[in-house]
């Protein structure tokens, strides 16, 4: 159970926090990211290829905005709780789901900023007993014209007992 009552957590639903500042999409970082995920597509490396395919510049891979977790792009008061202190026990926090909606591809030269809204908090009985607490965070990434580029939805789960499924991804437990 989180260290705070569920009613207090749910009272935060609808609150919005600035979570991403000055996320500049850079060609070197895009290529490094594409390398790391094993995608050899020249689209992520060669501006001529990108332009021939109708892009304004080299585009970023679909999940590139994970880069926003680097301190460089985080306001000082934003930690792994994405600006919301829900009292989750970080050792039992799992990453349940990650979803994106795209208005357009992010491309090299974009400078993105992001605001995160806590959109849902709910509890459910875990399969191995204990209450699982779900929190859904929606981040809108906007360009320098304040136009929406993409929306990212992250679902985090505080498990009721250790090793509750799903347990595939603990990447926000104590990373970075």
């Amino acid at each position: 159970m989180p260290s705070k009552p569920i009613s207090e957590l749910q009272s935060k639903v609808g609150e919005t926090v600035k979570t991403v500042n000055g996320l500049r999409v850079e060609a070197g970082k895009v290529e490094e990211f594409a390398n790391a995920i094993g995608d050899e597509n020249p689209l992520f490396r060669d501006e001529d290829v990108a332009k021939a395919e109708g892009y304004d510049a080299i585009p970023a891979p679909l999940t590139f905005t994970r880069v926003a977790y680097f301190d460089r792009y985080r306001p000082d008061d934003v930690d792994e709780g994405l600006g919301f202190n829900l009292g989750f026990d970080q050792e039992r926090v799992l990453h349940g789901e990650q979803a994106y909606e795209y208005e357009r591809p992010a491309v090299v030269g974009d400078v993105l900023s992001g605001e995160t809204t806590l959109t849902d908090v709910y509890q459910r009985e875990g399969r191995r007993g204990g209450e699982m607490t779900f929190a859904v965070y929606v981040t809108e990434f906007r360009d320098e014209d304040d136009d929406l580029v993409l929306t990212e939805r992250v679902t985090r789960i505080e498990t009721g007992v250790a090793d509750e499924e799903p347990d595939a991804d603990r990447d926000e437990v104590d990373g970075a």
């Binding site: 999940t63 994970r66 990650q98 990447d171």
Partner: protein
């Protein structure tokens, strides 16, 4: 530029039940987890420090869930084209371990006509060599009509 990346998929080409080419990522290793850590900023030591992982009660380090999600995103990108994808979702089901081989595949679930082509929804799944699902996902793409058909 190879044929693999040519834009070949148009609204006329897709039907419910069509399957994607398979994407196979062979013999994933700790180096891949480290590379993804550096690229993404996810430096949780559970993904590369064996003694840390054991102290945390794990048998082995394991990959970032988002790394497996990226293999499914990679397939979706190759299949439909990056700028045609309007939505992508990944759900984390099980862990990716060193020496795993990941196979990603997709199947078209719905095709809806639009004024300029079609909107397509597909299911995606990444499995390991034992057939265990690591990540399931969905992708939505908007495909134009084939250019040869536009003037007719």
């Amino acid at each position: 530029m190879t044929d693999r990346y040519e834009r070949s998929l148009y609204a006329e080409d897709v039907s419910v039940g069509d399957t994607s080419p398979e994407l196979v990522v062979e013999d994933v290793g700790i180096e891949d987890f480290v590379r993804y850590a550096g690229a993404s900023g996810d430096f949780n030591p559970l993904h590369y420090d064996q003694s840390y992982a054991e102290a945390a009660g794990e048998d082995s380090v394991f990959g970032q869930g988002m790394l497996t999600a990226n293999y499914t995103a990679h397939l979706a990108t190759d299949w439909f084209g990056l700028d045609r994808i309007t939505a992508f979702r990944a759900r984390f089901k099980d862990r990716l371990y060193p020496d795993d081989t990941v196979t990603v595949s997709g199947e078209i679930m719905t095709v809806s006509d639009t004024p300029t082509g079609a909107e397509v929804d597909a299911d995606l799944v990444a499995t390991n060599q034992d057939g265990t699902e690591l990540v399931t996902g969905t992708v939505t793409a908007t495909l134009p009509e084939h250019p040869d058909n536009e003037s007719e």
